[in-house]
């Protein structure tokens, strides 16, 4: 049984029909990537999974259990945690305080301290700046913080929305290294990326989204060889 399964999901923003029957499967321990042009519905898919948006039709299942009855905060405590698009950190709180917020669903103090240490281990840069206000971090550091904060809840499924957006190539590499590291530690990851080349390198499988629909779905290797993908997303003609 897949850890996460979407079946014919339709989502709306008011009258705008953003997802038109998306179905996808993520197996335990996999990295699955979702690629597509701007406005294809990638972020919408993640928001729908994490409960910030309710699907009007279709089912989302976590380990076979239908999530439609749950609120966003329940879904977090079930182990599905999203890193929102665009580095939404709590700007007026310090790095450490931001991380502690991430452990909101686990109230135990010693567990929290341990989780902070783990994040600092993954992102040594954050450790150097633990007392700095998150709003004054550089863009890349804020991305690390947003990711680290999501890890504080020890997610079973991590939903990453464009972790490489706006980062210098070196930082992109290091973010992707971290994702691989998390993957090795057993976290299941659904990765939304504009940087399709990098995404398809670390992913096991991938889905291509176009105007709210899945148009392609294959192993990452096959997608890399696929002509349409090469043309549209990898810039190879």
């Amino acid at each position: 049984m897949a850890i996460l399964e979407l079946e014919n999901v339709h989502s709306y923003y008011g009258h705008i029909h953003a997802l038109k029957g998306v179905s996808l499967i993520v197996e335990e321990g996999e990295i699955v990537t979702l690629i597509g042009a701007n406005g294809a519905g990638k972020s919408t898919t993640l928001k729908t999974i994490s409960g910030l948006l309710r699907p009007r039709e279709g089912h989302i299942r976590l380990n076979g259990e239908d999530l439609s009855a749950y609120k966003a905060h329940d879904i977090v405590s079930k182990g599905v945690v999203q890193v929102p698009e665009g580095r939404r950190v709590f700007g007026r709180l310090t790095v450490t305080e931001n991380l502690e917020m991430g452990a909101y669903t686990r109230s135990n103090a010693s567990e929290t301290a341990q989780a902070v240490e783990r994040v600092f281990h993954l992102f040594p840069r954050l450790k150097e700046r633990h007392n700095q206000l998150a709003g004054t971090l550089s863009g890349g550091e804020q991305q690390m913080l947003a990711t680290g904060r999501a890890l504080m809840a020890y997610p079973k499924v991590l939903l990453l929305d464009e972790p490489s957006m706006g980062l210098a190539p070196v930082l992109v590499d290091s973010i992707f290294d971290t994702i691989k590291q998390l993957h090795r530690e057993g976290t299941t990851i659904l990765l939304v990326e504009q940087n399709a080349r990098m995404a398809l390198q670390i992913a096991d499988r991938g889905y291509v989204l176009q105007t709210g629909q899945v148009v392609l779905n294959d192993s990452a290797q096959n997608l890399r060889q696929n002509e349409t993908v090469q043309k549209a997303y990898l810039g190879i003609s």
């Binding site: 910030l52 945690v81 999203q82 007026r92 709180l93 502690e100 917020m101 909101y104 809840a153």
Partner: protein, 576 residues
């Protein structure tokens, strides 16, 4: 270009004009005359004159600091020039009032005002005095700017304290009569209408000297305190808190009935402020209808305890005649219930929209209280009289001095609850909610429960405050529960510092205490709020006693690379 010609005369004149306009304004709206009944330093300077002196002093100060980089004499001269210009404007006022019959437009442009401005001299001599005084005060302002930073801070603080003690001298004297020994020892400090000259000098020296020494040595003391082992530190903090509580418990004896009443009014505002501080300060939900819960607490207390029932005795047809203590939990419960009921429809609203809707809710409650429809039950515009009083055995909470203890206990409880909530899970959830609602949700925070808890706790404190208020004044009328109450409470937490517990106390003392103590202020209450808020937003946007997070936001101490960025502002008393 030659440096001399680049000197900024125009700048000094400009600032002088601004200072002059401020002085004109306070004169023409009547503040100067109204405030002249009280001396700051007996026989030397009245409160009204102080207002003008402050305006000119500031003009001199800013003119001098605008000329920064020039020689000290040039800066002093800039100050003098600005002072001269400002007083020249006042001179103009003195000259044009009689021929133009300005009084038909400005009722306060009276002969008394002219007398104050001309030092009770003949017009020509008076004008000369006024101009000379203006120049001298402007120069003094300039000199303050020239002083080294630390001395300047001490001098300004000392001037502030002289002013404050002069303002409050009547109260201090009343208080001292309740402590004969201390009173006799301090008698020399006060003249017939204000501080005596030696008293003022003594205050100035003690405050300035004390502040200067503390600035030089205080760091060491603080370091030594920090170096104490945590257990000892905690013990001394608790010890300090206990001393404060003991003093507060003894306070009504010293204060006497009138000042105890003032303390009670401040206390009720503190209680309401603590509640709104949770809603606005902790959770960031801007609630402008806060008076609703205060009204509900008061009305429930009134209806349940009054024994003025029936056509002849009172206005309302039904009342269970409960005791105060039976009614109190019901009143608080009703406020909480309405807090939640209001909370549910506005769950999805943010910022301005939330403010408008809550504003409407507050008005609805007031209009309902006034309505004929509910008149048989809550009295309509005639209100409810003979509200019950709390008693324990033979002890009746009826006089200001006894009610003080009830209000004190309520505040203590509210502070304790606020403090515990702030440092626990709900507090963290509120903080996240205040910072970013969407991300808070993505962190697994239950938005509905978190918001409703904030509304409910805030309403509980406000309802408690209203219930005690009803019992204190004994009768309640709809007009006590207007929008101004919500604004007062909101202003007091802004001035104290959003989300800060000590800030609520400071804000309530300034906004609720001062107007009660000084009847002159009461008339200019709204003007004072406005002026105070503007000055604060410019100089101390985080409030007088801010919470750590908020202060950090407004005065970022470290930039992205870890080096100091904006100016580092030290606030007395430390964080929280």
């Amino acid at each position: 270009m030659n440096k001399k010609t680049s000197f900024n005369w125009l700048g000094a004149i400009q600032i002088g004009l601004i200072g002059g306009v401020v002085a004109l304004l306070v004169s023409l709206i009547g503040m100067v005359e109204e405030f002249s009944q009280r001396d700051i330093i007996s026989g030397v300077i009245t409160m009204g004159q102080t207002l003008i002196v402050i305006a000119i002093l500031m003009a001199g100060y800013f003119a001098a600091s605008r000329a920064a980089g020039e020689a000290a004499t040039m800066r002093a001269i800039s100050g003098a020039l600005a002072g001269l210009v400002a007083s020249a404007l006042l001179t103009g006022l003195v000259v044009i009032i009689p021929p133009l019959n300005l009084r038909s437009i400005f009722p306060n442009a009276s002969p008394a005002l002219i007398n104050i401005l001309t030092f009770n001299q003949e017009t020509v001599v008076g004008i000369l005095y006024l101009l000379i005084t203006g120049a001298v005060v402007g120069t003094l302002g300039g000199l303050i700017d020239i002083l080294p930073a630390q001395i300047r801070r001490s001098v300004v603080l000392a001037l502030f304290w002289v002013g404050l003690l002069g303002l409050l001298q009547e109260l201090i004297r009343v208080t001292l009569t309740n402590m004969p020994q201390v009173g006799a020892a301090l008698k020399w400090m006060f003249g017939s209408r204000g501080l005596s000259i030696p008293g003022a000098v003594a205050v100035f020296i003690v405050v300035a000297g004390g502040n200067y020494l503390w600035a030089a040595r205080g760091g060491q003391v603080q370091d030594r305190f920090r170096a104490l082992p945590p257990t000892q530190r905690r013990a001394s903090q608790w010890g300090g808190a206990l001393v404060v509580i003991a003093v507060l418990l003894y306070l009504p004896r010293i204060l006497g009935p009138y000042l105890s009443e003032v303390a009670n009014i401040v206390g009720l505002f503190i209680l309401a402020g603590l509640g709104l501080n949770i809603v606005v300060g902790f959770a960031g939900l801007l609630d402008l209808g806060y008076v609703a819960f205060y009204a509900i607490g008061a009305y429930v207390m009134g209806v349940l305890t009054t024994n003025a029932i029936g056509q002849n005795a009172g206005q309302i047809v039904f009342g269970p005649e409960f005791s105060f203590w039976q009614a109190l939990p019901i009143a608080v419960g009703a406020a909480v219930l309405f807090g939640v009921l209001l909370g549910i429809p506005v769950l999805k609203m943010r910022g301005d929209y939330l403010a408008i809707v809550t504003l409407g809710f507050g008005e609805i409650i007031r209009i309902l209280a006034l309505s004929d429809f509910l008149k048989p039950y809550i009295g309509g515009s005639q209100g409810i009289v003979e509200v019950g009083q709390g008693e324990i055995g033979n002890f009746v909470f009826g006089t200001p001095q006894t009610l003080y203890y009830m209000i004190f206990a309520a505040c203590l409880l509210a502070v304790f609850i606020s403090w515990r909530l702030r440092d626990s899970r709900p507090g963290r959830a509120w903080k996240a909610l205040r910072e970013d609602e969407d991300v808070a949700q993505a962190m697994g925070i239950n938005l509905v429960a978190t918001k409703l808890l904030a509304f409910a706790t805030g309403a509980a404190f406000s309802g408690l405050s209203g219930a005690i208020f009803a019992s204190k004044v004994g009768s309640i009328y709809p007009h006590s529960f207007n929008l101004l109450f919500s604004i007062n409470v909101l202003a007091l937490i802004i001035i104290g510092g959003m989300g800060s517990l000590p800030g609520v106390f400071v804000g309530a003392l300034i906004l609720a205490g001062l107007p009660e103590l000084l009847r002159e202020f009461a008339e200019y209450r709204l003007l004072m709020y406005g002026a105070l808020l503007i000055v604060m937003m410019l100089t101390r946007p985080e409030g007088f006693w801010p919470e750590a997070t908020h202060r950090r936001e407004l005065h970022e101490e470290f930039g992205a690379e870890g080096e100091p960025r904006a100016e580092i502002v030290k606030t007395p008393g430390g964080a929280r």
